[in-house]
């Protein structure tokens, strides 16, 4: 079985598969080759996530995978349509595989993938996978803070990479907890610069690009190098934490931003467009700036971008749009210029 990459999701999926004895092929880490393969066989105007996930699938099939699990969901974003086209493309390329998709119904999907394992086992496997993702998220949050103020640039990123490895190899909850604590301690123990007052910049936008470091060209690491503390409201954690109480009371971060966007977008427009506008409204006073990232041609985010300038709450926003031709140097230049402007604005405010 295989599945397309999306940030560090593979750590969780791998943990689940191991618990349930599913023979899992983790696609090779997303690379330039993945992108080239994906872009070559994708429709020209499909968005970056489409091309990357297609590339992942091809590379996994090359390694001998025979079942692909995808997420497809009905909604206004293109995302839910992906698997139809991707399946067609892969079949035309001559691969033989079985695609597990939403139309089977969620229970059948789980049953097929786990070879009919008993339900309690499935649930416990699922929980362990989620626990890993939560641990990763916990570490990630601290990394964002430390990156901005560490004395030796790059050490937090190194520890983070170790943490991913350690969490991935943790066999049980105990080992997982230990790995998490150990790396958190290491991170907080790093020497910092003398007078830390980093800029706080929110990174928001389309979910896939947000959490996939290859797709967003490590935008968070680069911002850290510039001495910026990244705020990341739409983390994986938000996505996977099933807390029925919070959901029914509508108290999740997501719901908060949706409520905040209400005066500007009255209802669902698909994808994460509504949240993007909401984050700007919510954090206009406590953040210094906003970086809005999205794949080229993303429908919901284009709508968000059209609406964002008209909000009463003002906050500097930089739009960074990614596609397969985006050059990292161009992005870095823009980030630097943006950070400089905000820094100056902040200084002026203090002086005045």
């Amino acid at each position: 079985m295989t599945f397309p990459h999306m940030g560090n999701i593979w750590v969780g999926v791998k943990a689940m598969a191991n618990k349930l004895n599913v023979d899992l092929v983790v696609p090779p880490p997303t690379s330039q080759r993945t992108l080239s393969l994906g872009a070559k066989y994708s429709p020209e105007m499909a968005c970056l996530p489409f091309k990357l996930t297609l590339g992942n699938m091809i590379e996994a099939l090359e390694l001998g995978a025979d079942t692909i699990a995808t997420v497809g969901q009905y909604g206004p974003c293109r995302f839910g349509y992906y698997h139809k086209v991707q399946e067609e493309i892969l079949r035309e390329l001559g691969y033989k595989f079985y695609m597990v998709k939403e139309s089977l119904g969620i229970m059948n999907m789980v049953k097929y993938l786990t070879n009919g394992a008993p339900l309690p086992e499935i649930i416990s496997g699922f929980r362990f996978g989620l626990a890993k993702l939560e641990a990763l998220d916990e570490v990630e949050k601290v990394v964002y803070k430390v990156r901005a103020i560490e004395r030796d640039k790059g050490s937090a990123t190194r520890i983070y990479k170790d943490a991913i490895k350690a969490i991935d190899s943790a066999e049980d909850y105990k080992a997982l907890k230990r790995a998490e604590q150990e790396h958190l301690q290491k991170l907080t123990g790093l020497p910092t610069i003398s007078s830390p007052d980093p800029l706080k910049i929110g990174v928001i936008g389309e979910f896939f690009i947000l959490i996939d470091p290859f797709a967003n060209m490590d935008i968070e690491i680069e911002l850290g190098k510039l001495g910026v503390e990244v705020r990341h409201p739409q983390s994986i954690r938000e996505w996977i934490r099933f807390n029925p109480l919070l959901i029914t009371l509508k108290l999740r971060e997501k719901d908060k931003s949706i409520r905040a966007a209400k005066p500007y977008i009255s209802s669902h427009i698909g994808g994460d467009g509504r949240q993007s506008v909401g984050e700007k409204v919510l954090h206009a006073s406590d953040w210094d700036g906003l970086i809005h990232i999205q794949p080229f041609g993303c429908l919901p985010e284009i709508m968000a971008r059209n609406i964002m300038p008209s909000t009463r709450e003002k906050l500097p926003v930089l739009d960074v749009i990614f596609d397969e031709l985006t050059a990292k140097a161009g992005m870095l230049n823009r980030l630097e210029a943006f950070v400089d402007i905000i820094q100056k604005k902040k200084r002026d405010k203090i002086c005045a």
């Binding site: 429709p43 139809k84 698909g270 080229f296 739009d319």
Partner: protein, 328 residues
């Protein structure tokens, strides 16, 4: 009398007779923006971010053309007209976006149509819209029923007589329409109505094809049944509201023995980037009907479109000649 402005863009081609009957039934005057011009497009694109799709830019231009001519503008948010099938983001957020990018715009009458929320909510939405004009629920009901009737007649006109939407609208308004002779070879156009019938953005595609001696078939001329079978054959369960215009009609026409199929897409259209691709793959797989995909954007030069069209028609001619030779 209240003047209601309707932009000649996006959903206009599908629902105009229905809307007009509804508003006129409630005693309002309906004003439609003039056909798209270069100026409409330019003013529209100056308001939105660059990668917004062409039809939305056109729609903004039409709203701008209406701003000082009417008391309110009707921009519906059509979320879903079939269970669990959603429309594209652009349609969902259209009223909100228009308000954001055109602050000087007169009040926008928006109506949320979402079948997933049940019939009751639909009726409530219609009533809420009617309330702007009348306090009497019965009058609103009457206007809504008449509007629905008008919509059915409009659709029938297109399916039975093979009229394109602009011609059907003209014929409803009492103008003479010349029926096309059914013996000519046919070219099918596949795509959204706001691309096929906007003569500026598609550079008078239909006119050009007719000048070249072809009969033009469009998605509106097919029955719901035909469209649905074609979609099921190609992609299974439909995903987008207007999937039938592309996948449905494309799938149908490719196997209906027309001389050629032209797929018209707007640059940057999210749904079409995947749907037209499915049609194209089907065309390659079948290998019987010539297929051309034409991408339109605001910079598309007329000469470019004409050249491609000529080449495509030449190819069809050559194919025909070759087949004739074989027969001899």
């Amino acid at each position: 009398m209240v003047k209601v402005g309707i932009p000649r863009a996006l959903l206009y081609y599908q629902y105009y007779p229905m809307w007009r009957r509804f508003f006129e039934g409630l005693g309002a005057e309906v004003i439609v923006s003039p056909p798209t011009t270069q100026a409409t497009l330019a003013s529209g694109s100056s308001r939105v971010v660059a990668d917004t799709c062409l039809p939305v830019k056109v729609s903004c231009g039409h709203v701008l053309a209406l701003t000082d001519k009417c008391d309110c503008i009707f921009i519906p948010a059509l979320r879903s007209i079939k269970k669990k099938i959603y429309n594209c983001s652009k349609f969902l957020g259209l009223p909100d976006m228009t308000r954001a990018v055109i602050p000087e715009c007169p009040p926008i009458l928006d109506i949320d149509i979402d079948i997933n929320k049940g019939k009751r909510r639909l009726y409530q939405a219609i009533y809420k819209l009617g309330r702007h004009f009348s306090w009497n629920p019965l009058e609103i009901r009457k206007a809504a029923l008449a509007a629905w009737q008008a919509h059915q007649e409009y659709k029938e006109l297109m399916v039975n007589q093979g009229l394109t939407p602009p011609r059907a609208i003209a014929s409803i308004s009492g103008e003479e329409t010349t029926p096309t002779s059914p013996d000519k070879a046919a070219i099918a156009l596949v795509g959204h109505p706001y691309l096929l019938y906007d003569e500026l953005i598609n550079h008078r595609l239909i006119h050009r094809l007719e000048q070249a001696g072809y009969r033009v078939l469009t998605p509106e001329m097919l029955t719901a049944q035909e469209l649905e079978t074609a979609i099921t054959r190609l992609t299974g369960r439909p995903y987008w509201t207007y999937e039938e215009e592309v996948v449905g009609s494309g799938g149908h026409y490719l196997e209906s023995g027309v001389a050629g199929v032209i797929g018209v897409v707007a640059f940057g259209c999210g749904p079409d980037s995947l749907m037209m691709d499915m049609v194209q793959r089907q065309a390659i797989k079948l290998g019987t009907t010539p297929f051309m995909s034409l991408t339109l954007e605001e910079h598309t030069a007329e000469a470019g479109v004409v050249t491609r069209l000529e080449a495509f028609l030449d190819m069809i001619q050559r194919k025909k000649r070759k087949q004739a030779d074989i027969c001899v």
